[in-house]
Amino acid sequence: MRTLIVLYDQRCDLCRRIQAWLISQPKYVDLAFVAAGSAEARRRLPQLDHGATMTELTVISDGGAVYRGAKAWLMCLWALREYRGWALELGSPEMMPLARRFIAWVSRNRFKFGYFSGPASKEP
């Protein structure tokens, strides 16, 4: 696996903030950011259900493996040099349910976080 395509929600501040952070981190696997539901996303992933990508983070490997929600977040962490250990730990059967609940909660409230954390940095 060389690249992960990350379909992120361009409308939310928190998502753009996290995107900027992910870009700044050293990586084992490249992350290619594509706005969810955009023409570019539809062109590169013609068979994907793009409606679903608007509600939860979706990550697709260059081999075509699709990861959604909590799994997608873990894949992003797994791509980072500093956080792969965390991803492996959070992905263990004991931790996964907790990680899933936390991520679902953040995901549901993502527009509120953006509101409280001030203006997001401009897109690169």
């Binding site: 992933l45 699709v66 873990l74 250990g85």
Partner: protein, 133 residues
């Protein structure tokens, strides 16, 4: 020589011997571990092993040296044995702590070394076709 000086000499001898024993154990058994971590690069493993053991010696002998002073004079063999037991006990605890810290460092190094080849933590939800960028 009075009791105090004899106690000091015995303390230094016992502490040094214990430090050398633990350091040698670490040196001998840590090597296999490091060779594995550095993917069979024995020269690098030996080098890191040596550096770790030197640090181990410095910290332990430094502690032994600093903790030498008793602060009171010893008048009998009984007092000497009691003081020795207290001092050597402390040295043993410090050595134990250092030893476990070293094991922790080894395991950290090893864990980091296997990360680049670690597979994804989760399986995919589905498969799809990806067009070139």
């Amino acid at each position: 020589m009075n009791h105090t000086v004899i106690t000091y000499i015995l303390y230094l001898a016992a502490s040094s011997a214990l430090t050398i024993w633990v350091a040698r154990t670490l040196f001998k058994n840590g090597r296999v571990f490091l060779v594995d971590v550095f993917h069979g690069n024995e020269a690098l493993a030996d080098s890191v092993n040596h550096l770790l053991v030197v640090g181990f010696y410095l910290i332990n002998l430094g502690y032994v040296s600093l903790a030498l002073k008793l602060g009171y004079s010893i008048e009998s063999t009984r007092e000497s044995i009691e003081a020795l037991s207290w001092k050597v006990g402390l040295v043993l605890l410090v050595l134990g702590g250092m030893h476990f810290f070293n094991l922790y460092v080894f395991s950290r190094i090893r864990r980091r070394a296997i990360l680049p080849d670690a597979p994804p933590p989760v399986g995919p939800d589905a498969c799809t076709v990806v067009q070139e960028a």
